[in-house]
């Protein structure tokens, strides 16, 4: 067993971190909120920069202009994106790369940035609908791609580019595509969890920094257990989330049978962990944490929106339970059979 990133993945994470820190920050997320049209504002680094950096399309094959990398590679990059609340999400790129497999022209267009795709899940809010020019959706069991009309509403978190999409008639990219669709959704959940991991980890860091500096009753607030212990509880959750994200990404690459459970587990864990991290961040900051000027609410907005993306946390825990119980029932049936 060697459950750890390798040196190349560490280098990749650090290069992605350098790029993303220079290209996006919570200040950009705040600027979107402050703009005249938050729902239509352009997130940073934006599609063009993300695509030309090469990071967004790591999982597209090399001969089509992508990075030819694994989902685990993309996950370590997405974590860095989550730390700076970058937009648009790496989720859309990851899902599109899976859905468009076999359609070389469209994959090339994804990798060179000439087409911006978004993936539409029924009537719900679509991630990164804003700024997309082609929409992938399921019609019956067919995967279709076409233009669409996006309706936006006042966003809770403008960096997510959410909108309602009505898809016009599109071309059929693949028939009988239900399994591929489900797989892409799970891959998307893994990447969403990786971004949330980065967001949560950064929120914890900011909380720790403040807890060391801020004084009350003659000592740093981080020396008070109520504060210290709540930060530790977040730390423990984040470490477990990190393990689930890596496992799920590894499963997508190496053990597809494990992916349904792993992706649902990562999705459920990121929902609760990111919310705990963001809420703790606000609490540790006291009054200042509740101001518009402080970054805490930008992390909180991500948490409160992300939990509903690609299915909600309640559904994810239910799916985990169903899968685990079905596996347990199968073991039981086998041993009953063997006893006869």
């Amino acid at each position: 067993m060697n459950f750890d990133l390798d040196d190349e993945q560490r280098d990749l994470a650090s290069a992605a971190g350098d790029f993303l820190r220079g290209a996006a920050s919570p200040a950009d997320a705040r600027a979107m909120l402050d703009s005249d049209d938050p729902a239509g504002a352009e997130p940073q680094p934006g599609r063009a920069a993300l695509v030309s950096s090469g990071f967004a399309t790591i999982t597209v094959p090399e001969d089509l202009g992508g990075g030819g990398g694994s989902l685990l590679d993309l996950a370590v990059v997405a974590e860095q994106a989550g730390r700076v609340l970058a937009g648009p999400s790496f989720v859309g790129y990851a899902r599109a790369a899976v859905l468009l497999a076999g359609d070389d022209d469209r994959l090339r267009a994804l990798a060179d940035g000439s087409t911006s795709y978004a993936v539409v899940d029924g009537d719900g809010p679509t991630l990164d609908a804003v700024g997309a020019d082609r929409f992938l959706s399921l019609r019956g069991d067919d995967l279709v791609c076409g233009p669409g009309t996006v309706t936006t509403r006042a966003p809770m978190d403008p960096t997510r580019g959410l909108g309602q999409v009505s898809v016009s008639d599109g071309d059929v990219v693949a028939t009988d595509a239900r399994l591929r669709w489900d797989h892409a959704l799970r891959v998307g959940r893994v990447v969403l969890a990786a971004e949330g991991l980065g967001t949560a980890a950064r929120a914890l860091e900011i909380g720790i920094e403040y807890a060391k500096e801020r004084q009350a009753f003659g000592r740093a607030i981080g020396s008070y257990q109520a504060v210290k212990h709540s930060l530790v509880d977040v730390y423990v959750q984040i470490e477990n989330l990190r393990s689930l994200v890596w496992w799920a990404a590894w499963a997508a690459d190496q053990a597809p049978d494990e992916l349904p459970l792993a992706a649902a587990a990562a999705k459920g864990a990121v929902s609760t962990t990111l919310q705990a991290a963001a809420e703790t961040l606000i609490q540790v900051h006291g009054g200042i944490g509740f101001t518009w000027e402080h970054d805490a609410h930008l992390f909180w907005r991500r948490a409160k929106v992300d939990r509903f993306l690609l299915g909600d946390d309640v559904g994810a825990f239910d799916e985990v339970a169903r899968l685990a119980l079905a596996a347990a029932a199968a073991v039981e049936a086998e041993s009953v059979g063997a006893a006869r």
Binding site: G222, K228, V232, Y235, A269, D318, A324, A327, A328
Partner: protein
């Protein structure tokens, strides 16, 4: 990244598996075991030791095999898979033994270590006292050196797991009250059958009696039974506590409840519930199951790091914190599924395994460092948060107890 066994690990796994298969009947089943039966448990451990499955990571001179933590993890996995009951001498192996290995004399190592691994001798850890549990360094049990060099120990220990079965214990004592409290401590090995040692079983809330009060009344211990230097007991105790950390909660092993056993139980019971209830049960179970997966894979990360030479630090405590929490969630869920029987100490057909599991868990959040103390350690050593101010700093032990 991978979860595959290396060829060496795979070979080891099959050795372990076939040994367990071969001795299936002698090894017994975990679910049949409520408390440690002295004789049977010793025999089981001796059998496993002779088969090479106890103390693999210990140095060869100490009776071990100089093996890797990964080999140990494989043994743990295979024993748990086969439902083999835990080792009786876990405290000896996990805490006392490593302390003797690091701080004992050659003579002590020769006399004790191999016998400890075979459970020829059972060991206990005599640290906690009525007035000093979390604040361990505040202990009062005295050791005074006499003219012939031997020591006389007097005082009281408490919550000592397995003291009633133990042959030896490591005991932390105060040898100098006139220096700061961490400075004046010294560690010894004591034979539990020595003159002046009295062990009184304490009944636990779960009904069992695995821990005890231990009284020392002028117990004479030769200087050759000292572990480490006089006054250096705190440093010696830290070795014990570090090893304890890894034993409890490192490596992603499940605490108290096995998630797969719970899953089988839920799968069996859930069909009899209304669909509303089923949804609630799945919600609770799904959340708890995700927690167990997170803990398991975090344990794998720790093991991978250790096998590359990293030394497990305080972050290993995170597994115990998260593990005790999820174990309680799973136990509560399991008991609830018993329906009306959940209100009783056993089911109508006389089985108490889920109720017993539930009643054992509060102790896990206390033993080996309470949740609060572990959070302090993680907060200060891992997150780098400032320590709490303490009232006992810069004064001697004597002044601190006034």
């Amino acid at each position: 990244m991978d979860f595959e066994d290396t060829p060496d690990e795979a070979a080891w796994r099959s050795t372990v598996r076939s040994f367990i298969e071969e001795h299936r009947d002698e090894l017994g089943q975990r679910r049949d075991q409520r408390s440690f039966d002295d004789v049977v448990s010793r025999q089981r451990q001796a059998l496993l030791y002779d088969g090479g499955l106890v103390g693999v990571t210990w140095p060869v001179e100490a009776g071990g095999q100089g093996g890797t933590p990964m080999q140990q993890a494989i043994i743990d996995q295979e024993m748990s898979r086969a439902g083999v009951p835990g080792l009786i001498n876990l405290i000896g192996i996990g805490m006392c033994g490593p302390t003797v290995i690091h701080h004992g004399s050659d003579d002590q190592k020769d006399r004790y270590l191999k016998r400890l691994l075979r459970a020829d001798d059972i060991w206990c850890q005599l640290f906690s006292e009525p007035a000093s549990g979390s604040d361990l360094a505040a202990l009062r049990t005295k050791a005074v050196q006499t003219e012939d060099g031997s020591w006389r120990i007097s005082g009281q220990k408490v919550w000592t797991t397995l003291a009633h079965l133990a042959d030896y214990g490591i005991v932390l004592t105060r040898t100098d009250p006139d220096v700061a409290k961490h400075r004046g401590l010294t560690m010894f090995v004591v034979p539990m059958k020595a003159e002046g040692v009295t062990v009184r079983p304490l009944r636990q809330m779960s009904g069992g009696a695995d821990f005890n009060e231990v009284f020392f009344d002028d117990v004479v211990v030769p200087d050759s039974e000292r572990l480490g230097d006089v006054g250096d007991g705190w440093r010696v105790a830290l070795t014990t506590l570090m090893s304890e950390r890894l034993t409890l909660g490192g490596g992603g092993t499940e605490i108290g409840m096995s998630a797969s056993t719970v899953a089988e139980h839920v799968a069996r019971q859930i069909g009899g519930l209304s669909s509303d209830r089923q949804a609630l049960v799945r919600q609770d179970f799904g959340r708890a199951y995700v927690d167990t997966l997170g803990i398991r894979y975090t344990g794998y990360r720790l093991l991978s790091a250790i096998s590359k030479g990293a030394f497990p630090g305080p972050e290993a405590s995170a597994g115990k914190l998260a593990g005790t929490k999820v174990a309680r969630d799973l136990a509560d869920l399991s008991v609830r599924l018993l329906g009306d029987d959940a209100a009783y100490a056993e089911t109508a057909d006389g089985s108490s395994s889920w109720q017993d599991a539930q009643a054992g868990l509060p102790g896990m959040a206390i033993a080996g460092g309470t949740n609060e103390v572990l959070r302090n350690v993680l907060g200060e050593r891992v997150l780098g948060l400032p320590a709490e101010p303490r009232a006992d700093k810069g004064i001697t032990f004597k002044e601190s107890i006034r």
